[in-house]
Point group: C3
Chain length 100, copies 3
């Protein structure tokens, strides 16, 4: 089975930003994404504002270059304003030609 290593970028954010976040992830070069409804609690930067409530969890399989662009957009446009958590993990993907 031919697989290729890509990055799985996962973003947890307030539900209110879903539409905008999907648009920005696509604009950064992601070819697909999966969103699930979630709930949770986190801290918001150094102010440690707690948030609890309706969240979304978005994940997308991307190249390292696209992952960097997504994280740059998050850092510039989301982190100062929204409660957002983002991480990436290495993933071996079947049919990787879909994500180039």
């Amino acid at each position: 089975m031919h697989t290729e290593e890509l990055l799985l970028v996962t973003i947890v954010a307030e539900a209110i930003v879903e539409h905008r976040l999907v648009r920005d992830v696509a604009a950064a070069g992601a070819r697909g994404w999966t969103v699930v409804d979630a709930r949770g609690q986190g801290s918001r930067g150094v102010r440690a504002d707690e948030f609890e409530g309706s969240n979304i969890r978005l994940e997308t399989l991307v190249t390292p270059q696209v992952a960097d662009r997504i994280l740059e957009v998050l850092a510039r446009d989301y982190f100062p304003r929204y409660a957002v958590v983002a991480w990436s993990t290495a993933a071996n993907v079947v049919r990787p030609e879909k994500y180039a």
Copy 2:
């Protein structure tokens, strides 16, 4: 804490295939699985048909051998017909004897 490295195989597919997919994942040797409802968008192979709508996200912790069998079934029976994305990541599992 004793842990063992296994593969976490994640499959995102149209909701309509859930019952069949669970059956096939079990037949391939998976001992357990978790399914969540999802939504999203992706491209379908080289035709790049876009799909958006009701999806499921299934994940299962398996040995590399079982992972290969799952991916072979996906490649043979699902990829030609359905919008399916699949990837695997390395996972350190507590109580790995459950997944042998």
Copy 3:
């Protein structure tokens, strides 16, 4: 983009333990967590009792030390009593100062 490697600990459990599990994960040192509703099937230890039904899937980004504490609590208080599956994966986190 500054990232740091942490552990993403994922726990799948019966929905009935959500409140208690969140409390215990926080007490072990986790600074945030995300919960989604799930369904699935698994085996319960060596007795291999099957369970199928309403589950939750909790994930939390933590240091290795906190991950160990979480897994110890699971082994001591949950595994003997509940159908619980837990695993960890390496994750590169943006803004890791939130999880120290």
